[in-house]
Symmetry: C2
């Protein structure tokens, strides 16, 4: 038997066949059809059929199906309440997929939760019971492993760690609160600060790096300039690490995770990120102890693997 996982994103839908041990055996990817959710479900069926054919398997070999979605899901795990990148609002996605595969159990989860779950299977969380994944992208996504299982909130409302408060009097967040982790620790913050610096210093390293095209400044631009020794970029990145360490210390004071893994573009920054981050977190946590802070392993495959393992993990 095999697990079938889908990771639905605003750019691409990805599908994959995953072994019982959580190993991704085969995958494919197609552009996300912007039209509507019926087109999305129809495409999922085509992609699954293709994978099964290539693997010389049939639907009777599929133990269960998991779907990861970049948005909020109702506590029962049936309805995509809001997935802004997909244009999905109150979409009964689980039922739609189940109609295609009436004999196979279908499970749905938020993609950041699924990504955390994936790390349990040969990734950064192998063998761990308590672990935290932070995805540092345009926003800050997060997934929690508690008791060796994916945690979806005590009432099934999900885990929105990006919206824990870090700076009570800070900048307005899209959620309505101020100074959420997401406002200070996302890649978007680095981009914003990088652009501000480039505008203030058109002959500086950051502006130079993108040939003056402000809109081309990414988080990577800032990281690259910092790594090359530009003082302005280094100051921005230091401040970012300072905020991130405060956020991680705050969560560590609550949950004391065995491992903290970082995903998303910023997580690829390497030692310029991890060395000071580990040191600062140690200084800030109540018990002044070291935490294992590492890059997430599964990257772009995390959503597929996590989706495929949803049902298996929930039964543990």
């Amino acid at each position: 038997m095999i697990h079938l996982g889908f990771d639905i994103g605003g750019t691409n839908i990805k599908a994959g066949l995953v072994s019982c041990e959580g190993r991704l055996l085969m995958k494919n990817s197609r552009p996300f059809p912007k039209q509507d959710d019926s087109a999305c479900v129809a495409l999922m069926e085509t992609m699954a059929a293709q994978l099964l054919k290539e693997a010389d398997l049939s639907l009777s070999d599929v133990a269960d199906i998991g779907v990861a979605v970049p948005g909020s899901i109702d506590p029962a795990g049936e309805v995509v309440l809001h997935a802004y990148n997909l244009g999905f609002h109150n979409v009964h996605l689980k039922a739609a997929v189940s109609r295609l595969y009436p004999d196979i159990p279908v499970t749905m989860a938020n993609d950041a939760n699924a990504a955390a779950l994936a790390e349990l299977y040969g990734g950064a969380f192998s063998g761990k019971k308590t672990a935290l994944l932070l995805t540092l992208g345009t926003g800050v996504g997060a997934g929690l492993i508690l008791g060796g299982k994916m945690f979806n909130g005590g009432r099934g409302n999900g885990v929105e760690i990006g919206h824990m408060t870090l700076d009570y009097r800070g900048a307005q967040c899209s959620c309505g609160s101020r100074g959420c982790l997401e406002t200070l620790c996302s890649a978007a913050w680095l981009v914003q600060q990088g652009r501000r610096e480039a505008q203030a210093n058109p002959r500086g390293a950051i502006a130079g790096c993108v040939g003056g095209r402000m809109e081309s400044i990414s988080a990577k631009t800032v990281v690259d300039c910092a790594r090359r020794g530009d003082a302005k970029a280094a100051a921005i990145f230091d401040q970012y690490v300072e905020y991130l360490s405060q956020g991680i210390a705050s969560i560590a004071n609550i949950l004391d995770p065995e491992v903290i893994a970082l995903g998303g573009g910023v997580s690829l920054a390497g030692d310029i990120l991890y060395s000071p981050l580990r040191q600062k977190v140690k200084e800030k946590v109540f018990f002044k102890c070291e935490y294992q802070i590492v890059p997430a392993v599964w990257g772009n495959d995390a959503g597929i693997i996590g989706a495929a393992m949803l049902l298996g993990n929930s039964k543990k």
Copy 2:
């Protein structure tokens, strides 16, 4: 069989016999002997013997012994690392108690964790899997129930929710960080603000309430004056509820607890606290949903009950 629980505090040691269902059957209390930990352990033995005699039971009826301590405990649960109120530092308390009762298993926990556990047994957390207790006293203590069990941190370092960050640029906390939940949501904050107001307005309601004796101003003074309609006291209490709601919303965004219970003196404030608090938490959480926020049930008995149930709960 019966469970024996001890709650060691800087003022009193409390002991109690607790049924298998978590019901406190009998208790006693003695002043905490300031001399040393040997005197403490000797007193515990005397107190236990008294209880057993009164209950017409013997040591062979005691299934296990639990000890709650107001301080940090090593991950193995054997050593009190620091309990400032007791003057205990690196005290091997578990071994000392076990020497008295070599045939009975002894378990030790932080008193806030134990208090959260107690609420599972006929208290605010009955039948719940995910729950949060915040004790609003001089500091902010906290205990978590996850998966229906007391959670002591993923690595056993404990739960220090009082030191999650709320105001990154805020007041210095005793832990070394700034703007921790504890700096804004403790009874001490209400006292500090109440004294400030009384000093600024010696003829105001708060100063009047204590006959001008600033040192007599307590959190209750502020709450009482607010309840009687004094605008200055009400403004202080409103700000307190604002901070507390932000802290609870921040935790709710991470854990989505089924119930949030409040303990400590401030938790007795009644509707002037709970009504606005529930409303503000709903407005601040990511999903804009209501949370059950209620007073803790077990009050001064929580430590004894929780301590007594430690081993039973850990085996669940």
